[in-house]
């Protein structure tokens, strides 16, 4: 629909695809390629469908750009304009780089949502397999009312997703590799950059201060990796280093964290000791002297590493746990500590009480104090399982009847005289006994086998799936009424009927399979 007014952002000529020359168009919502001299596109991908783009390394003879789709397919474009191939490719790449993330988020969200639903709900997944994979209905149709339902029903569930944390080792993932000629190569991905920014806000600040104006992105990161800031044994961060300020800020952050103190009084080492010995008393502990003058460089670098690790872990933790709340939380905390300690004193006891109670609790010594349940004592478990049986008019036998019949039988037995001329042959007799003993032909009614025992589980499962699939189709069917649009009418008369046919056929196949298996 928008194809009429599509805005063409970039046109690159002399681009080959599948050994055909053509032109590449980058439009507002899609990328397309048409062979030379033709008026239509043979290749057209929505940006939302594209997972990523790859480019050929700089030194290669062929200058290519590959698009990988979410489906796993890929399309490769070869830029063949001798003079400006590289420039063309880079222009396309840059533009794509800007465009893709915009669509990516949307697409990803939807895709993720669908994925999540399928993973969480095995029934739905099966349904999806039965209907979509076997091409009874199309995926769009399948999702059309599903997603809508879900989104309308509880929009919070999808929004309320947990924030993805940061890997503790994201700095380890940028292990430098030697590129063979006295250089180091660091692999940076968008995720890692994001992690760095979230963990070290100071770096982000520097980035936003410097990057477009003073430095290019590449230069910025090169400097970052060169700086002592990145190397953890940062002792002598030179003043000309743009990151020296970050180091100071980190230091400050660490200090403020320390000053804030801890909320849990049980881990507060400062208030652990009740009465410290006065100065001058005590068994002299050989403390490493804290004055910086007589510490060697190595020692102070070691303790710097330790500090950095603590800081790093704390930042990762903070970034992961409550991203949005941190600033407000910090502010409130500092204000309460900056204010008089009186009110922090008032807040403290409850936390302390709770923690203390937690610690002295011996859960296993206590009787479990959940509400007592009464054990169910069933005399007839099948009655319980099947629920009450509707009262049927039954023919009751009174005790008198029983006595009468017993008397009658006794009477018969007394008068029983074997008719020896009309006995059964021994084979017939034994077969009759067999038929009457449990499991025999005549005794089958007595040992009623439930259907679920007769049919193997996989067949049952299949039937269940067929049932669910048919149900889904019927839902589609009924949702078409009242038929007030031509689309619905077409759906009803055309493919829905066909679908139901398919479903029925499937059922039929299942039926025959079942019969086959049975015999």
């Amino acid at each position: 629909m928008s194809s009429l007014s599509e805005e063409v952002l970039l046109v690159v000529k002399k681009v080959r695809q599948r050994k055909q020359d053509g032109t590449l168009y980058l439009m507002a919502e899609r990328i397309a390629w048409g062979p030379e001299g033709k008026d239509r596109f043979t290749v057209s991908h929505l940006y939302a469908d594209i997972r990523c783009q790859k480019i050929s390394p700089d030194g290669k003879a062929k200058i290519q750009l590959q698009l990988v789709l979410h489906t796993g397919e890929s399309t490769t474009f070869h830029f063949s304009n001798e003079s400006s191939a590289l420039k063309d490719r880079d222009a396309a790449k840059e533009l794509l780089q800007q465009l893709l993330p915009k669509f990516k988020k949307k697409a990803n969200k939807e895709l993720e949502e669908k994925n999540r639903m399928l993973q969480e709900d095995p029934v739905l997944f099966q349904l999806y397999k039965d209907l979509v994979v076997s091409q009874v209905i199309s995926a769009d149709e399948f999702w059309a009312n599903r997603l809508g339902d879900i989104n309308n029903a509880d929009p919070t569930s999808s929004n309320n997703k947990q924030e993805v944390g940061i890997s503790g080792a994201f700095l380890a993932d940028i292990r430098p590799q030697t590129d063979g000629c006295n250089g180091l190569r660091y692999n940076l991905t968008a995720d890692i950059i994001e992690s760095i920014f979230r963990t070290y806000p100071a770096v982000k600040e520097k980035y936003s201060e410097n990057v477009p104006h003073n430095l290019t992105e590449k230069e910025f990161w090169t400097r970052f990796f060169q700086s002592h800031y990145f190397h953890r044994d940062r002792i002598n961060t030179g003043t000309q280093d743009i990151f020296s300020e970050c180091a100071k800020q980190d230091e400050k952050g660490l200090k403020s964290m320390v000053v804030q103190g801890v909320k849990n009084p049980l881990v507060d080492l400062l208030s652990l000791e009740d009465k410290t010995l006065d100065e001058g008393y005590g068994f002299c502990k050989t403390f490493p002297s804290t004055s910086n003058s007589n510490r060697t460089v190595k020692e102070s670098s070691n303790s710097a590493i330790i500090k950095r690790f603590n800081h790093h872990s704390a930042m990762v933790l903070a970034a992961g746990s409550r991203k949005g709340e941190t600033p407000a939380d910090h502010a409130s905390e500092t204000s309460s500590t900056d204010g008089n300690s009186r009110d922090s004193d008032f807040f403290q006891p409850p936390v302390k009480k709770v923690k203390l109670q937690e610690v002295i609790e011996y859960e296993d010594l206590q009787r479990e104090n959940r509400p007592k349940t009464v054990a169910l004592n069933l005399k007839k478990s099948d009655r319980y399982a099947h629920g009450p049986v509707p009262l049927q008019s039954q023919h009751y036998t009174t005790s008198q009847d029983i006595i009468n019949s017993v008397n009658y039988i006794r009477h018969e037995m007394l008068n029983y005289k074997p008719n020896l001329t009309q006995v059964l042959s021994s084979t017939t007799a034994s077969s009759a006994i067999a038929a009457l003993s449990p499991g025999g032909v005549l005794m089958q009614a007595a040992t009623q086998q439930a259907i679920n025992q007769m049919v193997p589980t996989e067949v049952q499962g299949e039937l269940k799936h067929l049932y669910a699939a048919a149900g889904e189709l019927l839902r589609h069917f009924w949702s078409c009424f009242p038929v007030n649009t031509p689309f619905l009418e077409e759906k009803l008369t055309g493919h829905l009927e066909e679908m139901l046919q398919t479903a029925y056929r499937k059922f039929h196949i299942w039926q025959t399979r079942r019969m086959l298996r049975k015999t």
Binding site: A172, L269, L277, G280, C284
Partner: protein, 760 residues
């Protein structure tokens, strides 16, 4: 449930009981019956505190005349508060069961810092500042001055307490620190002084060791506690060090300089007073002539706890004439000070005994032994007379005078070491005079002598027989209890080799060995991959940890560990470490998992528990031997050898193993808890080391796990963790490690229980 412990009705506030708790109470009851002292080792997390409290409270109720008071000493403030909370639970159970309201008074006592409610004073951060400020507001002469000049600031809480607080005793009940503060706020009384006053008639007092063991504090606080009290030292595995600490003195140049200014101030004040109020000094003189009779009478009639700084002999005598007047005493102090200064001007290490020191001081500056002995007492008297506002300022001169008294009182048990510089920095002159106590029994002796029963208990007191020897007392019971377990929830493993067969050890020769460090790193890395939630690793010393962390960082091991868990590291700074600890717990809590690298003998290893998921594995890198090159330690070892016939190696190993046991024991805090205990040093496999671990750990080390490689340990751990992760219900324990009353009373069970206590 109500228990019958050899004829004593004990209320136990739970529906079930661990067999070892019953056994523990039996032993405790026997100790109290015999009116003797006891040493009891029971694993942490088996409800030691509640057993102790239940039995002793029951005993107090049954025999109110024989045991009037329970003095419960613990180590840290949270620990003290925990005890009071458990006591509260017990008392609630009592009143629920008997239906009568509780007539017991129990309270916690802590330093001013934790009890002050004065808005300005309590805002101060450090305990010493709080004490000093408090003193400047509450000292008797300050308050006397207020009568003449009403604008002198005083503490209204103290005034209020002083006016009415003593008339009515604190109503019966359980008072934790916060309860005392609340009560104080309501009444407008000072909680600290209220508590100090109330401990005299309280049934149960919970406070820290120092209030009994440190003579300076004990003299103020615990002097008048009743003789027929039961004293409990909980977490007492380090009690000898506490004793030694409270009696040792270190004197540096800085101390002497500050002392100098103190003495000058004293002199000026004396001069001033002499001009204005000579009568006051005369009065003091008269008092000193009469001697310390008052104190002597009190001690003879058994009202006071003896003060080891104030030996018996001097109480009978008057203060010698040459220090009786204030000026003479200040002159005396100056002479003494000059002598100490000259002693600090040494070029090489000097070590001498107290008699040698006394002889030298007599030869050089003609100071006799006798006036030295009265130094501490004389200074106290002078400070009182001169109405010095801030005692804290005079800490230096107090220190020196205490030193003088101690050095002249004890000819044995102390040593004097003068070091001109630190060992690590021989070029920087920093002379220190260590006057170090080597005999812990000196400080604790008055406690054993005065109180009828002293119970020493902890989770790790092995080997039991060493404590009576070094503390010099004769216990009537010594018992170690094992932990009855329905499932073996602890898994001690001794990792002796790396995967490349390199022997793992933190011994001095291989300390810098990269192969060992790498293998240690490997162990931690592999464990971080398989252990859920929290791992705590302990190193033998801070320097060692720093080096290892640095080389792990260089080798990229830490980065790999970070893939599995976050890393937090203890630092010498307590505030920083607290922050790291809290973050560590947060990381364990939210499922990310974390590793805490820490130091044995550090604050973390002594005071923080890692319950449940906060510590699923403890790794002990190396054997935490104390730094053996220290001269003080060498002197102490020599003393132990000569006096107590304890061989140096035995003591060192004992000391190392009790710290190792403390560290690994941090992870197991109860029967529903579980954890790996990894001893990463091949020396742990030796019988002399292994044999010194507590019995409840030792019995789970099987011969197969004595010299494992890293890989083998990982395999065993995986298996163990998988088993432990299965649901564990109360029913699984019942009858084995958890008993109902009926089960407890069965004959068979009683026989089993008799085996739990391991008498030595």
């Amino acid at each position: 449930m109500k228990l019958n412990i050899e004829g004593l009705l004990v209320y136990f506030p739970y529906d079930y009981i661990y067999p070892e708790q019953y056994s523990y109470m039996l032993e405790l009851k026997r100790t109290l019956d015999a009116k003797g002292h006891g040493v009891l080792e029971m694993p942490s997390g088996t409800g030691k505190t509640i057993s102790l409290l239940s039995l002793i409270v029951a005993y107090q109720k049954a025999f109110p005349l024989e045991v009037t008071k329970l003095i419960y000493c613990s180590r840290t403030v949270p620990e003290i508060e925990k005890v009071v909370e458990e006591l509260r639970k017990l008392m609630e159970f009592y009143s629920k069961q008997t239906g009568e309201s509780n007539n017991f008074l129990a309270l916690a006592l802590s330093s001013r810092k934790n009890l002050c409610i004065h808005p300005e004073v309590s805002a101060l951060r450090f305990g010493k500042e709080v004490d000093g400020k408090c003193h400047s507001l509450t000292a008797s002469y300050i308050r006397a001055q207020r009568h003449s000049t009403p604008d002198v600031p005083v503490c209204r809480f103290y005034e209020e307490f002083d006016a009415v607080g003593r008339q009515v005793p604190l109503p019966a009940g359980i008072y934790n620190l916060d309860d005392l503060k609340d009560f104080g706020r309501r009444k407008g009384w000072c909680p600290y002084y209220l508590a100090r006053y109330s401990i005299l008639h309280a049934n149960i007092v919970v406070y820290s060791y120092h209030y009994l063991l440190d003579p300076k504090i004990a003299d103020l606080v615990s002097k008048e506690l009743a003789k027929n009290s039961v004293v409990v030292f909980d977490e007492a595995h380090n009690i000898d060090n506490v004793c030694i600490d409270s009696m040792s003195v270190n004197i540096t140049r800085r101390t002497l300089d500050r002392c100098h200014t103190n003495v000058d101030t004293l002199q000026n004040t004396i001069q001033k007073i002499k001009e204005t109020d000579a009568a006051k000094l005369k009065m003091e003189y008269r008092r000193l002539v009469e001697g310390l009779k008052e104190a002597n009478v009190a001690r003879e009639t058994d009202v006071y706890l003896a003060n080891p700084v104030l030996p018996d002999e001097i109480l009978k005598e008057a203060v010698p004439g040459n220090i009786r007047t204030a000026e003479h005493f200040v002159g005396f102090l100056k002479r003494f000070l000059e002598y100490l200064k000259s002693r600090l001007r040494v070029q090489h290490v000097v070590q001498e005994s107290a008699p040698q020191f006394l002889k030298d001081i007599f030869d050089k500056v003609c100071i006799d032994r006798k006036p030295l002995r009265f130094c501490a007492e004389r200074l106290q008297s002078l400070l009182r007379t001169l109405e010095i506002a801030d005692i804290a300022d005079f800490s230096a001169v107090t220190l020196i005078s205490n030193f003088a008294t101690l050095v002249s009182t004890y000819s044995q048990g102390f040593t004097i070491i003068i070091e001109p510089f630190e060992d690590r920095t021989p070029t920087i002159a920093n002379p220190v005079l260590h006057f170090s106590c080597m005999d812990p029994s000196i400080a604790i002796k008055p406690v054993f002598q005065r109180f009828q029963s002293v119970i020493i208990t902890s989770g790790t007191l092995s080997p039991l027989d060493i404590y009576p020897r070094i503390l010099d007392f004769r216990p009537v019971t010594m018992a170690s209890f094992t932990m009855t377990l329905a499932r073996t929830c602890l898994c001690p493993l001794i990792v002796g080799r790396g995967n490349d067969q390199v022997a793992l050890s933190s011994k001095f020769e291989t300390r810098e060995d990269f192969a060992v460090i790498r293998n240690y790193g490997n162990l931690l890395l592999e464990m971080s991959a398989i252990v859920p939630d929290g791992i705590v690793a302990f190193f033998t010393s801070y320097v060692y940890m720093e080096n290892i962390v640095a080389s792990w960082y260089e080798q990229g091991i830490l980065e790999n560990i970070q893939r599995n868990k976050l890393i937090f590291i203890e630092t010498p700074d307590a505030a920083e470490t607290s922050m790291a600890l809290e973050k560590y717990q947060e990381a364990c809590e939210n499922g990310r998992g974390a590793i805490l690298l820490s130091v044995a003998r550090g604050k973390v290893s002594e005071g923080i528990d890692f319950v449940h998921h906060f510590g699923r594995a403890v790794i002990m890198f190396g054997v935490p031997y104390v730094y053996t090159q220290s001269r003080i330690l060498k002197a102490r070892l020599e003393y132990l050898r000569d006096q107590f016939q304890i061989r140096e190696n035995d003591f060192l190993t004992f000391d190392a193993m009790r710290h190792a046991a403390q560290c690994v024991g941090r992870a197991i805090r109860g029967k529903t808890d579980y954890g790996l205990m990894i001893f990463a040093d091949k020396r742990y496999a030796r019988a002399d080391k292994r044999g010194k671990l507590p019995r409840w750990i030792q019995e789970h080390i099987n011969d197969g796990s004595l010299n494992l490689t890293v890989d083998e340990a990982v395999q065993l751990s995986k298996h163990f963790l998988r088993q432990m992760a299965q649901p564990f219900r109360q029913e699984d324990q019942l009858g084995l490690s958890l008993l109902t009353l009926e089960q407890l009373e069965s004959e068979e069970m009683l026989q089993k229980i008799a085996k739990i206590a391991h008498q030595t």
